[in-house]
């Protein structure tokens, strides 16, 4: 079974909710989720973010829908780390 371990996303969001609320909402999605959020650009009404999420098995559709619920737009997936768990276990 292939698990997504880490993604780096290019996200555009309004100023509200702020980055603390957004990163907390993403981290709340899984017990072992780890979030790093960097503000890349600040405009009059929006912020461009680099959002890095890591965990044992990321639920990407849930991350995407949470971002959408908070008014953000996912522009691109810049990096992905995936792992075949059965192979790693056999090693």
């Amino acid at each position: 079974m292939v698990s997504i371990k880490r993604v780096v996303l290019d996200v555009l969001k309004p100023h509200e909710p702020n980055v603390l609320e957004l990163s907390a909402a993403i981290a709340e999605l899984g017990e072992d989720y780890w979030v790093r959020l960097t503000v890349v650009e600040l405009d009059k009404n929006t912020e461009t973010l680099q959002l890095e999420v890591a965990g044992k098995d990321l639920d990407f559709p849930l991350i995407e829908s949470t971002l959408k619920e908070m008014g953000a737009s996912l522009h691109s997936i810049d990096e992905v780390e995936a792992q075949n768990v059965s192979i790693s276990e056999s090693q």
């Binding site: 555009l12 969001k13 309004p14 509200e16 909710p17 609320e21 909402a25 709340e28 405009d43 009059k44 009404n45 929006t46 959408k68 619920e69 908070m70 008014g71 737009s73």
Partner: protein, 194 residues
Amino acid sequence: MSLFLQAKFLFGLSNSGEIMRRYFVVNGFDGALTMLGLIVGFLFTAPDDLTVVINVCLAAAIALGMSGLSSAYVSESAERQHALSSLEDAMVRDLQDSAHGKAARWTPFLVALVNGLAPLLISLLILSPLWFSNTGVCLPLPALICAIIIAMLLIFLLGVFLGNVAGISWLRSGIETLLLAAATATLIYLFTGP
């Protein structure tokens, strides 16, 4: 996210706490001063039947409540939709299904409720001695005087509330609003007094 956290999040998103607080004071003050004016006016005309006073004041209170409810809903809906459209332009996406869309739909209801209920409830409190007196409850002072005292007390408390919000002396702020009420009563006396 729990319901409470969701509500808190939406409140923060729409900045509605501050707007509701402002509307509560503005329209609450309107309600209290209108009732004070009516009751002071009735005090000088000394009506025989207290039911007339109650009906006139109650009608004014309901009108103030309905006016607050409808005007706040219409204006807040328009403002929220405008703000949402601007944000949608900036985000280049539809935000109706996001927290921003929910806040734009719910905030006008909540703001309208506060704007309508503030003058209505404050007016009902001011009118309470008139009802008590009309139902035969014995009051220490004439019912109209009791209503004026309650109106003054509520106006003072609104000033205290404003003082706390502004972080200035609550006593000074309370006395300032009380002086405004006294000035209103004096003006009414000058124009309608014996």
